[in-house]
């Protein structure tokens, strides 16, 4: 097996594991299919926007939950709702699911529960960031070796 095939094999295996472990779902695959020679960096660009969004929203949630005078759960929920939306749009399934759980604690106005969920969301976000970075690096290596990125359905 030459280097391109090896890298492609690695890519396929890694992609498959991402789906199997629930890091990404079919929506992510949909976005990958939207990438072409006219928009070769589409996925990286959307994912970057998503991670920026994540950081901003996580900070909002943390600040809102820190309020000693009384937590504005509506505000927390608004941020969680936004994060749930964008994670769903890019197929970040575990982040999205963490948001779903988070919302019930917001509704219950349970500060402890919310703080745990915030930890969970932050954890899932950083896991995903690492995973996708690895995926994108593999893609770059394949392209640099003159190969094409396999489509994994």
């Amino acid at each position: 097996m030459n280097i391109v095939n090896q890298l492609q094999r690695q890519f396929i295996d890694f992609s498959t594991s991402l789906h199997r472990e629930g890091f990404v779902d079919d929506q992510f695959t949909q976005l990958q299919k939207l990438q072409d020679e006219n928009s070769p960096d589409f996925v990286v660009e959307v994912v970057s926007l998503f991670f920026e969004d994540c950081e901003k929203l996580i900070n909002n949630m943390a600040r809102a939950l820190e309020q000693t005078q009384g937590v504005d759960f509506k505000q927390v929920d608004a941020s969680v709702h936004q994060l749930k939306g964008s994670s769903s749009s890019i197929g970040a399934m575990r982040v999205k699911n963490a948001c779903i759980a988070f919302r019930s604690f917001c509704e219950a106005q349970n500060r402890e529960g919310c703080l745990r969920c915030l930890q969970q969301v932050t954890h899932e976000y950083s896991l995903l960031k690492n995973k996708l970075q690895t995926l994108f690096t593999l893609e770059q290596q394949i392209l640099a070796a003159g190969g094409s990125i396999p489509v994994v359905d």
Binding site: D26, V46, G85
Partner: protein
């Protein structure tokens, strides 16, 4: 002749039924996309561009109205010289919701015939009903997929072609039923197939644009505010579950 912005030509071209000229760039469908989420805007923009649409993306209902020339400052209804062919908007937005934007568009004599599609991450029947009854062309449950956009584009451009009634109704019915049936399967937790991603109002006999009194293009027989049982989507659901 009604003012239909960029789609008037399709009516007159329909001599043999399918006369698309090869150079359609001047007649490219122009979509105004409205969403406060930057991520979603980027995705919808890409979905539309890949479907050969020209896209203008804005981040709020207010900006959408400004773009159309419908904002409060100018007191005229303006012209649709930007030739917007379709508006696709998120429902949940700070300030003006997608529903409020829909109403404003439908209240305008110039813009009311532009199809408006609502997107929402929440699959709430009452919300869907409300939008369809207010004249929304379709309701898409997020995340939006390429197939949703293709269907919308197809649906809104075909609507203005007379004489396709039956085939269109059959395909629309098919879409409704399939998507609603899927919603029952989605009651189980993941990994499940996607929930109904797109809902259209039930087909009306003649595909003419809504008149000023705008009879609700739905199954509900009562023109006044229907009870939950009479809501268009609920009645469809009940029919399927038999």
């Amino acid at each position: 002749m009604a003012m239909n912005g960029g789609v008037t030509w399709r009516r007159t071209e329909k001599i043999d039924g399918f006369n698309f000229s090869p150079t359609d760039t001047a007649e490219e469908v122009h979509v105004l996309a409205v969403d406060d989420s930057l991520v979603d805007r980027k995705v919808i923009e890409r979905l539309l561009r890949i479907s050969s649409c020209k896209v203008t993306a804005v981040d709020s209902g207010i900006r959408a109205l400004q773009f159309l020339g419908l904002d409060e400052e100018k007191n005229n209804d303006g012209f649709n010289d930007l030739k917007v062919d379709l508006i696709i908007t998120d429902y949940c937005m700070p300030g003006m919701t997608g529903y409020e934007l829909l109403k404003k568009v439908k209240e305008s004599s110039v813009f009311r015939e532009i199809p408006v599609v609502i997107m929402s991450s929440e699959n709430v029947l009452a919300r869907i009903d409300r939008c369809l009854e207010e004249g929304a062309e379709a309701f898409i449950v997020k995340p939006v997929k390429l197939s949703d956009v293709k269907r919308i584009k197809d649906y809104t451009t075909r609507e203005f072609r007379a004489g396709e009634g039956e085939e269109k109704e059959r395909s629309r019915k098919g879409i409704n039923k399939r998507k609603l049936r899927d919603s029952f399967d989605d009651l189980s937790p993941s990994p499940s197939p996607s929930p109904p991603s797109i809902l259209f109002p039930s087909p009306s006999p003649s595909p003419t644009p809504p008149q000023s009194q705008s009879p609700s293009p739905s199954l509900a027989s009562a023109p006044s505010s229907p009870s939950p049982l009479d809501s268009p989507t609920r009645r469809l659901k009940m029919t399927i579950s038999e």
